[in-house]
Symmetry: C2
Subunit: 327 residues, 2 copies
């Protein structure tokens, strides 16, 4: 007989806010609490606020702390899952020596886990979303940055340390534009929200006519991917060409994944993916052009079903899996 | 108790020759038979010759056909492992509708399997070579082309159809030099033996002074990667700079794999890798520069131990595993 799965606390640890939720074994959120991160205050105060957010989520769920099976944090960064450390995270720069997993475990007296947010989201889509029943699945989040995670033979693949799935930092144009990570030509530097905004600014800087100019009142440096999405929906030529360019590189990234993993499904989530077929359709085309025929004909490229909750639900699934209740 | 593992016939199906060997459960070759492929004669005659080569290998091994547990073919190309088909292979262009697995199974009345040669070699290194005891391992062969395979959680990962592990056709320089596969900027187009020869020809074409000119008697078009290796060993400046350039891109390919898989070990085999540290040392450096610190500090990049037998021994391991004798 399957052991009953206890509810767990899952936290999405972002650069600007936490979201803590108590989630039951079926992926239902029993509570959901927001709190600003204020990372600039340093780890000690942030951890205190994190702990009180967790306590509040437990309280609001109606479940006592004793009924909680574990705590699981999805963090944007390179996570050492064995030691429960954030080794490198752009939004939490001074956290590399803090054993966050241990601290929370001691505080709440339940097992606590850290994992990368893209990896968590992959598991979320596999367990509760667009990847249900799929054994070989890749999740990509296209947002300010690009992240992702790999489901291989039905299970989340974290790699040796926990840092597998850094899809956004696959270099597809060696010595290309600079990326947030300091490298050049990463997929993130060519197809993320940041890249889309940069491309649009470049085109406007060259004096191209576009409604984008009016949308930002001539202040080109304030232009974001959201502006480009809006303008593209209005058939603005500059915005459309920028989306096409990002989709071209996204498709090359997809083709690399298809040639490497031969997956059944690639799920695309994240803020930028909300523009839907305008991005996905040319990205699929570029993928088909660049990948081998057999794996390209097998794979389905679909939108996330859980967006934006994939990470938090996946983190919950991870803690539940670690309880031993679910394989 | 473990079931005894029968010896199997493993065949390396190359564009110029077959090598068929009877291999026991410990990875020992009991026989080894060569035969030219002569692919231009068409599938029917090639398959006949393949069958007689298999029979000869069984005969020379001293094992009767009745003691053979299966036949396993390692083929350079995109293999549909479920249907036992070669869907696309540059050296066997007219084979896409031939159910080679079934044909051999009917002929010899034992289970017959096809798999990609890079995937086979990955399994070979894991079972008998540089990857013994390693759970997360990537194998790369750097030869005329670049191939590879993935060992994930201790097992060969073939992907959904059998085409996973096409490391050579990961695009690292979008719209870069043309690849043998028809795409542009694949790792194979930048770091394989073919790429090394092309780069050297380009430098000589520009009028650069080099002992390579004398080595090929001024006939630049006859220049190969072997010439470049020999000249580099003699400290020829042009040859050294070509090797450095190939190693730079190989390192970018490695960094992509490190960021995606966070592996424990990357094993490098293939003819070009025989030049050893001259290639591997700058490739490791380039990988360290381009990958995230945590996974880059974990991974070991080592030379193949089974080169050039990794494929054939891995094919044998695959058939033995399919017998159920070995996990």
């Amino acid at each position: 007989m399957k052991r009953a799965v206890k509810p767990v606390v899952a936290v999405d640890v972002g650069g600007t806010k936490f979201i803590a939720a108590v989630v039951d074994g079926g992926g239902k959120m029993l509570s959901r609490v927001y709190c600003p991160t204020c990372a600039e205050q340093g780890p000690e105060r942030v951890i205190k606020r994190l702990a009180s957010t967790i306590s509040q989520a437990v309280k609001e769920s109606g479940a006592g702390m004793k009924s909680i099976g574990g705590i699981s944090l999805a963090v944007a960064g390179i996570i050492d899952i064995k030691r429960g450390l954030i080794t490198s995270a752009p939004n939490l720069p001074d956290w590399s020596n803090i054993r966050l997993g241990e601290i929370l475990q001691d505080e709440f007296e339940v097992p606590a886990f850290l994992l990368n947010d893209g990896n968590a989201a992959a598991l979320g889509e596999k367990r509760f979303g667009a990847g249900k029943g799929v054994d070989n699945l890749i999740y990509i989040t296209v947002s300010t940055g690009i992240g992702g995670g790999l489901i291989i033979n039905g299970e989340l693949f974290n790699g040796t340390d926990g840092s597998a799935g850094e899809i956004g930092h696959m270099i597809v144009l060696a010595d290309g534009p600079e990326c947030n990570c300091g490298q050049h030509g990463c997929l993130e530097a060519l197809a993320s929200g940041t890249a889309i905004a940069r491309l649009a600014r470049e085109r406007l800087g060259e004096g191209k006519q576009s409604i984008l100019n009016e949308m930002v009142g001539g202040e080109i440096e304030t232009l974001t991917a959201e502006h480009v999405t809006k303008a593209a929906k209005k058939q603005d030529t500059v915005a459309l060409s920028v989306v096409c360019e990002a989709a071209y590189y996204l498709g090359i990234g997809l083709s690399n994944l298809v040639n490497l993993f031969n997956p059944q499904v690639i799920v695309i989530g994240g803020g930028v993916s909300a523009m839907g077929e305008m991005l996905l359709s040319p990205a699929r085309k570029s993928m088909q052009e660049h990948a081998f025929k057999l794996p390209a004909s097998t794979v389905r490229v679909v939108k996330s079903k859980l967006n934006p909750d994939a990470g938090i639900l996946g983190a919950a699934a991870w803690a539940q899996q670690k309880q031993g209740g679910i394989k």
